[in-house]
Amino acid sequence: MTTVDLGTIRRLVSVTVDDVEHRVPEGATIMDVLDSAGADTPRLCQAPNLTPVNACRVCVVEVEGSRPLVPSCARRVEDGMVVRTDTDRVAHSRRMVLELLGSANDMSQAGDDVARWSIEYGADPERYGPVGPPAAAGERGNRHAGHHSAPDGETRATVAQPVTVDNDLYVRDYARCILCYKCVEACGTDAQNTFAIAVAGRGFDATISTEFAVPLPDSACVYCGNCIGVCPTGALKSVAEHERREAGVWDPEGETVTSTICSFCGVGCTLELHVQDNTIVNVTSPHDHSVTHGHLCIKGRFGFQHVQNVAPPRDR
């Protein structure tokens, strides 16, 4: 008897979005319908190669018969479902998510989409006052529930803190972390199954942390970098990118991206080599390829120094 169910053929169901009817395969998410209809639905914690975790709530929609707003990334369609995206309630909720994240986090490397959505929904983080003082290095990662003091009301709360650089391959810039869980998912059951990181703490003190907040080299981390690959805000990035940004020579406009195949084993992972100034600055993989689903190992993502025409960071 088989233990692994290969599933059955999916039928089509009818879904109405903003008064327009769509026929889609059962099992599709509302976001699948919105995407195929060409809607510009904001998203932060959603990725096509990860299981939805409903963390950011920026993709919410109204569903007839549902009292709370519904995260479109996770909710599967049902036959006869009626969805509205054009209501004040949806717009207000999306604005608040973008505004509150923008007030506490550095969203400056979150990409053009986030910048566009912030304008579109009128997010104004400045209305919460000037940014409060940053935490000292390591402080936020070691807070205990209930041990933080109440805000003074003069400044807005922030997750600002120094960048964590504790290894040669990647940095953790948690002033940019919006707790979208993507890195945790990629490190966990969605891809790598290493479980080196998880969300620790509660409420505003919650952080992405290794076990007991130890440095990465003391953790279970195997440096596949799949957390970097899914991070939407630049909180996790390669040392190569971090150093170039710090040195003021980061040049995304001059970057070329070339697809090739990794040379380090016979699996044949597609690599996208991000090259600036004839130097590889990042390696990613397309999420829609059947071999990698966007995920790589340490050799594929970082093992390119032998073709670089500049010395590695440690030798400079």
């Binding site: 040669d168 699996v267 597609t270 032998h306």
Partner: protein
């Protein structure tokens, strides 16, 4: 297998299977992204069994880990076959329709009772039985292997014994059931497919096949020898006999990667002429008369590579190569021109299109445009309208004998332990292994800063070390029948009493191939890297071995 040298299944199939049997494979570390697919299968309910002498990170995911003694794979496979036959779980319909040689196979496995197998392999009889029954009872099962099967003096026999298990149970040629050799380099599969095998032409045609060889001869306007050429191990033997006096090495580092490497270096040094074409000044290049600097083709030139699921994919130029480095094909064409054959300088696509015009069954349908648009294609892909072939040998399940084609033969192979036998003088089994963050002789991975990397060490079980009065971290001498090298000892939970291991990644630290056995498989030419008999000696304070002086400079160090 069955006439086509390639795995039978797409990676995706391991997510849709009921049972995964990884044999001589530490895929978690050596094929991490394939193991992602395995893990998806496990999350859906598949069972994993791992056959490996070591307690690897792969084995930790297994429902059953069969820690066999190195080189007893055929004994284990045959015992499993016997269990399956005794339980009446063989797939009679498949065997009768699609195979030959079943009776001989039954006779070959007959002596392998569980008791005898436990004695020879060291694996618990109950675990062998459980694994065999689980494999036979699964609706779909994937059997994958790596160098743990092939780096032995009887590599091909080992593989045949595994194929026998698949034939016995019908676990081949169906979605989710198949045989997958996980290749160690991005183009091991493609190199063979392109004819870099002594008896094959590009596309898998045999050199002795007059009809197909004739097509190649007409296309190339020259005569192709109809006799099998030499494989690497035979080349070294021919060097020894002084029949081969000039060698042209392309992208290989035999002065570090060969077993019994001191011997290999002596032979390379004694040649009349040695040409090395490589992206680095490797240890082999240091011995060369001429060094031709080439591009790293995976990122500095154009072309294709073929993966373990027979998927042909494009590599592309992302970087300008350094200095005088040139693409391998440019160098070869320039070499031809200077030898009096002006082939011009065709583009990578033009070279590929010539291949497509000759490899009719496998590659004819794989235009560059399709490879680009479809994310690669899996051979056989005989026409532009053919979708490629994720699952091979489905023909074996056809009801119509004409469609079913040639039956797949069982191979009644015999168990034969490692040639480098354990003895009172050499009581410890040394095997070579790979680590997640490093690659082969370290030429390419030595350059990047891996936080996982530690200095090379001889990894042993604490019990073996303590019996010799050796501490964790102590520097020792390991001695085989061929030589001796020094290394620090590390206590490692993946080892077990009687079994030590080391990697080939850091020959500048520990030149382990000075002591490995060059005895090779007569069918594949692969040396017995996995099974060396050694002893460990304590060092006198301040002593030095002669072996240390035979080191040659290496790249990437």
């Amino acid at each position: 297998m069955f006439g086509a040298g390639g795995g039978t299944s797409a990676y995706q199939e391991v997510e849709d299977t009921d049972l995964v049997l990884l044999w001589g494979s530490n895929a978690r570390e050596t094929h991490p992204i394939y193991f992602h697919h395995v893990l998806q299968g496990l999350r859906k309910g598949a069972q994993l069994y791992v056959v490996d002498p070591r307690r690897t990170t792969t084995a930790r995911w297994a429902r059953g880990h069969l820690p066999l003694d190195v080189g007893t794979d055929i004994a284990l496979a045959h015992a499993m076959g016997r269990v399956i036959l005794d339980a009446g779980l063989e797939n009679r319909a498949f065997i009768e329709r699609a195979t030959t040689g079943f009776d001989e196979y039954v006779r070959a496995v007959e002596p392998w009772t569980l008791e005898r197998a436990q004695q020879v392999t060291g694996v618990d009889a109950g675990l062998i039985r459980e694994t065999a029954l689980a494999y036979a009872r699964a609706d779909r099962a994937q059997l994958c292997w790596t160098l743990g099967i092939t780096e032995h003096h009887n590599a091909v026999d080992n593989v045949r014994a595994l194929i026998d298990l698949a034939l016995l149970t019908g676990h081949v040629g169906r979605w989710g059931s198949g045989l997958v050799p996980l290749r160690g380099q991005n183009n091991v599969q493609g190199g063979g497919d392109m004819g870099a095998i002594p008896n094959k032409l590009p596309g898998g045609y045999d050199v002795a096949d007059d009809e197909h060889r004739g097509r190649f001869e007409r296309a190339w306007g020259s005569t192709v020898p109809a006799v099998k050429g030499l494989h690497l191990s035979q080349m070294f033997e021919a060097m020894e006999r002084r029949e081969v006096r000039a060698v042209y090495v392309v992208g290989e580092n035999p002065a570090e990667s060969e077993a019994d490497v001191a011997h290999a270096r002596a032979l390379l040094t004694g040649l009349d002429h040695l040409v090395v074409q490589d992206i680095f000044r490797t240890a082999t290049a240091e011995l060369a008369d001429v060094v031709l600097p080439s591009c790293a083709d995976w990122c500095e030139y154009e072309g294709t590579v073929t993966s373990s699921e027979r998927r042909v994919q494009r590599v592309r130029k992302a970087l300008d190569p350094p200095g005088e480095a040139r693409p391998d094909t440019w160098i070869l064409h320039e070499m031809a021109r200077r030898l009096g054959h002006d082939w011009g300088q065709p583009s990578a696509e033009e070279v590929w299109d010539e291949l497509r015009s000759l490899s009719l069954d496998w590659h004819a349908g794989m235009s560059y445009a399709r490879l680009e648009a479809e994310g690669g294609l899996q051979w056989p892909c005989p026409g532009l309208d053919h979708p490629g072939t994720p699952t091979m040998h489905t023909r074996l399940w056809e009801r119509d004998p004409a469609l079913r084609g040639a039956p797949a033969p069982f191979a009644p192979v015999e168990h034969a332990g490692p040639l480098d036998e354990l003895s009172a003088e050499f009581p410890l089994r040394l095997t070579t292994v790979r680590r997640l963050d490093s690659y082969n002789s370290g030429v390419q991975t030595g350059g990047y800063a891996s936080p996982l990397r530690r200095d090379e060490a001889l990894c042993v079980d604490p019990a073996d070390a303590e019996a010799l009065g050796i501490r964790d971290g102590e520097r020792v001498r390991m001695v085989s029948r061929r030589g001796a090298v020094e290394a620090p000892v590390r206590f490692d939970p993946a080892a077990r009493p009687g079994l030590a291991f080391i990697t080939p990644h850091f020959s500048e630290q520990v030149d382990v191939n000075l002591i490995t056995n060059e005895a090779w498989d007569p069918q594949s030419g692969t040396s017995e890297f996995k099974a060396t008999a050694i002893r460990i000696e304590k060092l006198d304070v301040g002593s030095r071995t002669a072996a240390a002086e035979t080191r040659v400079p290496v790249a990437g160090s």
